[in-house]
Structures are given as structure tokens and as C-alpha cells.
Amino acid sequence: MISRAQFYLLTVNFTLGTTLFVTINEIIQRGKRDAWMMPLWAGAYGMLAALLWILLLRSSPGKSPVQIAREAWGPAGVIVGILYLLWFCMIGAWALRNVSDFMNVTIMPRTPPSMFHVMFLLVAGYTVVQGTETIGRLNGIVTPFLVFPFWTILMLATVDWDWERLLPAFQNPWEIFRFTSLMGFPFMETFALMMLYPKVRSGAAGALLLGLASAAMSISLVVFMVTGLLGPERAGRILYPIYTVVQEVELGDVIVNIHSVLIVILITLIFIKLLVLLYAAFETIHQLFRPASRWPHLEALSILLSAAAVVIYENPIQNRVLNGAITIAYDVFHTILIPALMLLSLRLRRALQSRPRRR
């Protein structure tokens, strides 16, 4: 069992995970000077979706979504469980591939991507085997090492701040509604945390909602700062604007070239995301089939995820093009449609079951 503070931190780190370097470019490209408002809308939408999930999990306390699928639909629930397993694996593969792309482009161009994937999976697998408490505690310990250096570096970079880059403001606050694909990622992926939800001692709902809100505000603040430091023209074109912001930090002549600190922070953040996803996949297998052993299944998942990470997309350009088309449908299916249907059928079933008793 993990505490609600640990669950809150897991929510924040999971949501921030890949967002900080995968979507910032696109958000600023679409939203320009008002781009910082887009994560706020997306976060609000994510919180609404989270309310649905909380309703679902409250209707069967102590059960994870996969177990609820079994309860609601019996044997057909196994199919839903497998769908969720595949979904967790796909998102995990996406996260792994994002990390290896980032590392290859910026600082380690010759390392084969699969090395990154395998290393991450090994460490994540070892952590998952230890159990839920380890995940919660590990995240709790690691978070200060992420938060303080990250914001300190961004503060150091503000010597180059120029308000002119953000004016005229508020030209298009509703921009995000034209780019619905940005709504889905990353907030809908937070559904993976629902597999951890039953393991929280108390107050999980509040922690989840607060975590989503905090993550949305963090992303918004980061977008705001990147826009103010690079300007929307550059930030919308540079692939990893945070990396460029940190690269250009120069305090006197001594503190230069500190971007490797940022890379370590980003790697750790992605690792947390991968950890949760691997845990979700592992728990799904356990809850669906109830095997007795642990390591072999993590080994199997590692083989699957390492392969999927290589083929999840052909190249970043194809990824970006297809992302706009498929993310929203893929995520909505798993995080809105199925949970809503499960909730409905649970309610119906309970209503039908309780009626004969009343007579």
C-alpha cells in the first residue's frame, strides 16, 4: 500500500514524463505566444476524465480496472484486460522510443537505441518485482532531485528573459480546441495510474486530481518560460526547446554547458513513467491469469517492449503526422469509452440484481 502523497507525486511525475520534451515544440508551434494556456485546458479535460475513472473505481472499491472488467463482463472481461495490456505496452514502447530518440539526437548519437530500451527495462523490471511500496518510495525519494535542479536551471536561464517575446498576448486563448490531439497526450495516459489506485491507503481521488492539476500547471509554466526565453519563432521550430534553453545558460564564464544535468533529470522522469506502465502491464497479467511466478513475466514483457520500442514508429516525422490522427481515438477508446461502458454495465447489473431482492 502506498500513501496518498506518494500517489500524488507519482501522478505528477508520470504526467510530466515525456511531455516535457516531446510536445513542447508542437504546443508552441500551434499556440505561439499563448501556448502556455493549452496545457491548462488539456489538464482541465484530464481532470474531468479522471472524475469518470474515480467513479468507476469507487463503484468497486479495492479493484483495479482490469478486475472490474472481469466483474462487469465476466469472461469477456479477459479480452478487455488484454486490450489494456496491449495499450500499456504501446504507451511504454512510445515512452522508450521517445527517450532513445532524444538521447540519440542530442548527446549520444552513436549508441544503438535498443541499449537504452534494454537498460531502462532491466532497471524498471527489477523495481516492479519488488512491489508497489518500492515504486512509491522510490518516486518519493527521487522527486526532490528532479524538482530542484530543474527549476534552478530554468531560473538561471531567465537572465535572457524578454517580455517582448510574449506580446501581444491573449490573441488566441482557445487555440487548443483546434488541436485536439494535444488534449489526449499526456493526460489521458494517466489512466495507467488507475492500476495503482486500489493500492493507495486513502485519499487516492484527491491525490489524483491534485496531481493532474499540478502537472498541468507545471507544463504550462515550462511552456511559458520556454516561450519567454526562446521566443515563439525559435521554440516552435527547435525539436527539443528545453534542451536548447539549458544549453544556452551561461552564468559568468564558469557555469556553462550544464545541459547534461537536464538530461539526467529527463531520463529519470521518463523512467518513472516507464515504471508505472510496466507495473500496470505486469499487474494486468497477474490479475488476468494469476500466475505464480514474477520474474519470467517481466522478462517476457521486456522482450515485447524492447521490440515494440523499435517499431512503434518509423521516424519522428511519421510519428508526428500519425499522432494527430490516431492518439485521440486510441486513447479515448481505452480511457473514456471502455471505462464508461464498464461503469454503465456495473450499474445496470447491480440495479438488476438489487431489484429481485426488493421484492
Binding site: 505464480a292 522482450i303 524492447s306 521490440a307
Partner: protein
């Protein structure tokens, strides 16, 4: 290709054999299912004809959408 077999095959086969010896048949089935699908994916990569997953998902979604609307 052979490197793929050399690395993955022992991992899968030895692990499955260990599971069978411990008489955990259900475990073996689950393990086999997941790891063999991973193996299949790796084989497609190694043979030069990778199954690109997001394109696959896109096709499934397109098919589903046309089924719903058509």
C-alpha cells in the same frame, strides 16, 4: 538473424523449461504468449520487414471508424 535467435531463444526456451519443471503450467502459457509475440516482433525487425505499430493501430482505427459509420 542468427544473433536474434542466439540471444532471445535461450532466454525464452530456458525460462519456459524452468517454469515447466516447476510445474507452473499456467505461468508457462502466459510467458510463452507474451514472449513469443515479442519474439515475433523482433523477428520481423531482424528480417528487414518490420511491422510498424502506429501504422497498424492507425489501420485498425480506420477500419473500426468505417465499420461504425459505414
Amino acid at each position: 538473424m542468427w544473433m536474434l535467435y542466439a540471444v532471445l531463444a535461450p532466454l525464452i526456451v530456458l525460462q519456459a523449461a524452468w517454469l515447466i519443471r516447476k510445474k507452473m503450467y499456467r505461468d508457462t502459457a502466459v510467458f510463452a504468449a507474451v514472449s513469443l509475440s515479442g519474439f515475433g516482433l523482433w523477428a520481423s525487425i531482424a528480417s528487414g520487414r518490420p511491422i510498424i505499430l502506429n501504422a497498424l493501430i492507425g489501420r485498425i482505427i480506420d477500419a473500426a471508424m468505417s465499420l461504425l459509420s459505414g
